[in-house]
């Protein structure tokens, strides 16, 4: 089934075997409440790694029965991160989530060469799935958070993550727009040049599983009428499932515009590790955190 609304992920997950979330240093109310909600609606099982006393207090404060979780006791945040990653590597969990520890420490545990979650040469990136008001389907895009200025190889990796995410959401042949300053191939503008190169690579079958077009301006990617006016015949135009951003500023601004100006829902995960990783920020809504957990479970 093709997911067209974020809520539909819950239906799909409810019909599947539950994936096991491992939450690192899950001692804060934000994390506990979001995970509890996901457990209660029956889409995941959860292991909370952290100080047992603090976790139980957090549960009590929010009227949550701690028995719905498996709790693995740890004294410190760093130890919790290492332990969580070890649980994943031991096959006791299917995906990871960050609790109250710093993003830096969380990422370091993932990236650790011997004990982490990375395959050699893998590229870690951040993929967002949004449900923007006024658009007729979900929009999957990246990278808005991890790679500031992706080079060509990193852009290819991100494009592959976008396509993979779309596939897991039931979109068989996702349409990927490669965002640039102009739809012209202007070799001196890196966003245009890289987009042209990536779209050629796709034509040559070096990137599979989707329909890829670029360079394209945002108007051509999401608005069919603009494509008609400009005479662009690509089937991606006006009907994109995915957008590759040329840099973090463009991606991050788009992300925040969707949340704050359009008041639309979105969710995100980190891809490139052996399992999907949830990396919510304190600013995210409860709903958004729940969606992010669901998204990671879809891909786990």
């Amino acid at each position: 089934m093709e997911i067209r609304k974020l809520d539909q992920m819950f239906e799909v997950l409810a019909s599947r075997a539950k994936k096991r979330l491992v939450a690192a240093w899950a001692i804060d109310a934000h994390t506990i409440v979001a995970v509890a909600e996901a457990v209660k609606i029956g889409i995941i099982e959860a292991i909370l790694v952290g100080d047992e006393t603090l976790i139980k207090k957090g549960c009590k404060d929010h009227g949550i029965d701690p028995a719905i979780f498996n709790i693995v006791h740890c004294e410190h945040d760093l130890e919790a991160a290492t332990k969580s990653v070890a649980l994943i590597n031991a096959g006791e969990g299917d995906f990871l989530m960050k609790g109250l520890l710093s993003t830096d420490r969380y990422m370091r545990a993932i990236l650790n060469k011997e004990k982490g979650l990375m395959n050699p040469g893998a590229i870690l990136s951040h993929i967002t799935v949004a449900e923007p008001k006024n658009y007729h389907k979900l929009l999957i895009f990246g990278d808005v958070a991890i790679i500031p200025l992706p080079d060509l190889n990193q852009k290819v990796a991100i494009t592959n993550y976008l396509i993979k995410t779309a596939h897991f959401l039931g979109i068989e042949r996702p349409k990927v727009g490669l965002l640039a300053a102009s739809e012209q191939t202007l070799p001196k503008i890196p966003s245009c040049a890289d987009a042209a190169i990536i779209s050629k690579m796709a034509q040559r079958g070096q990137i599979k599983g989707g329909i890829i077009e670029g360079p394209l301006g945002m108007d051509l990617i999401i608005d069919h009428e603009s494509a008609v006016i400009k005479g662009m015949k690509s089937e991606v135009c006006g009907d994109a499932d995915c957008i590759l951003f040329p840099n973090i500023e463009a991606g991050n601004t788009f992300y925040k515009t969707i949340v704050k100006l359009l008041k639309s829902e979105l969710c995100a995960i980190v891809m490139g590790a052996r399992v999907p990783c949830v990396l919510t920020s304190r600013g995210d809504s409860e709903r958004s955190k729940l969606y992010s957990i669901a998204l990671a479970a879809m891909l786990a």
Binding site: Q184, T185, P187, A193, I197, K200, M201, G205, Q206
Partner: protein, 302 residues
Amino acid sequence: MKKLIEIADKAKALGKQTRVAVAVAEDANSIGALCRAASEGFVHPILIGNKSRIEGLLKDYTLPAAGYTIVDLPNQDEATREAVRMVKSAEADVLMKGLVGTDKFLKEVLNKERGLLPPKAVMSYTCALELPKYHKLLLISDTAVLPNPDLEQKIAMVNYSVKMAHKLGISNPKVALITATEKVSSGMPNTIDYALISKMAERGQIKGCVVDGPLDIFLACDPSSLEIKGVDTPIGGDADICIFPNLETANAFYKGLMLFGDGELAGLIQGTSKPVVVMSRSESENSKYYCIALSCLMAEEI
């Protein structure tokens, strides 16, 4: 068009005499090819150099006196300068190198005040190949001028070759950008340039042709290879033009075909305001005749 002789037919069909100014017109080969074109009525040679030597060479041919012009300038530098001046001032339509060194000749062509290259124009070289085993003429670039063309120069090579194809009556030529593989990879910078150029053409930034690359020579010129390799390209093994990544590759390609494939060629300098014929001594007299015919077509404003 399958044979170079058809270029001469087209030149004859122009129904006019193109004025070819020859700098130091004192070598037998050039005079022979020019006299053939002149006797067929599509060229009026303007022979600049040592008058007595030129007349000595002309004795072997039976051109009517009105069929050519001699300008007596025994000094090579002066003869070359005069030939370029005549073309620049529209007293002649085509410039041709005679018995003068290529360096000296091109230096005059490239001279900023007196020469024929517009400011910022890229000078390059395109030649038309007749190949017994290919079903039509194949234009290739750059076999002679640009050792290591950058992106901008490659784009110029495409545009010049397309213009030549148009003059030969090929209205929407298929341009293949040649390298060793059809895959795009940053480890092979030419494949990156080619991806950009083919995307530029797709976006209408290069007009009047169909462009695809990177491709290897099989995918460009052999339809049966498409299926074997599973590559979808609008060139379809039917290229009119092959652009090569550097001079060594292009040069070895055409010389190999001359030597082992019974090929024949006609080439011209590109980028100048008027056609410039520079032939190497090793070229056959036929080849020189085709070059002259090609220059007559290229001199036409269409």
